[in-house]
Symmetry: C2
Subunit: 151 residues, 2 copies
DNA sequence: CCTTGACTCTGAAGTTGGTGCAGGGTGTTG
DNA sequence: CAACACCCTGCACCAACTTCAGAGTCAAGG
């Protein structure tokens, strides 16, 4: 099959596939006479694995490691467990950080009391004041949720 | 004060300050004879505001808008409310997506039964198998948590 | 006066995980 | 032979910074 078919089966784009190839997650495939990439069922499996891992939020470097374990069945699978555990820990940490953000935002939101500010002037708005105050007792050890503001 | 002092007070790096200047979030400051940036208390406040908003996960474009509201006290503060509400909604959505990931990862983690696989061989590890399976009934409408895997 | 060290400057490139586009080539069908 | 779908490469772009190279500034010590 060619790249469009593979993309359809993995529900991703052609660009993503070529990107994974550049990054070394997918092997360089054979080419047809017209220089088209040609893929097989093995590639479908491998790409499905990668996309599944990505959908679980794993970084490509760790997916790379998991693919290695997958290819060598004698690998100690505690390596695999460790990677998954690390991912679980990361996600849990992010959830914690986001919940903290959510609490703070809701608190800040409530400082705009519509009754005390019936003309809706920003100068009297508690939100602007709240946001000007120093960061107090933020989430944990100085590390912030770096990507909390993704689109 | 010069940039290092401002960075210390805002608990950020020099590069971040220069970056905000390039992006138009901080005004271009006066310079000393030696071409060093010189800042005042107003800049400390403004930067603190920006960092607070960033710590709450807001994108720079929205912080820009909030800074505008902050500068013009007659602005209708419902604009501010809308920005904060939007941010709360984003955070809530992200928490939901991450919780779904967490559930899936924990489920997958449990497929490595240490009793059934006493030699810890990856070939017999249920995790590798689970990760190869198709993505089934993932979080909501095809949209994934793009940045779930931030370091 | 000179040197050392702390501080600052600019501009460019790297990070992550892709997305989008321009400008072309290939292959099938009518 | 034209239209169209499909594919190719290589580069630029997104957010929000971070890192780096190479150079300039300034105060204190010898």
């Amino acid at each position: 099959m060619q790249i469009g078919e593979l993309a359809k089966r993995a529900a991703c784009t052609l660009e993503t596939i070529r990107f994974y190839e550049r990054e070394g997650l997918l092997p360089r495939p054979e080419r047809t006479g017209g220089n088209y990439r040609r893929y097989s069922a093995v590639d479908v499996d491998r790409l499905a694995f990668i996309r599944k891992c990505r959908s679980l939020g794993m970084p490509l470097a760790e997916i790379q490691a998991l693919l290695g374990c997958r290819g060598r069945p004698d690998t100690d699978c505690r390596v695999v467990n460790a990677l998954v555990d690390r991912q679980i820990a990361r996600i849990a940490e992010q959830i914690g950080a986001l919940k903290s953000l959510e609490r703070q935002l809701i608190e800040i939101r409530q400082t705009c009391d519509e009754r005390q500010n019936p003309e809706h002037r920003a100068g009297a708005c508690g939100i602007i004041r709240s946001l000007g105050e120093a960061v107090n007792a933020m989430g944990a050890h100085g590390r912030q949720a770096r990507n909390a503001a993704s689109p």
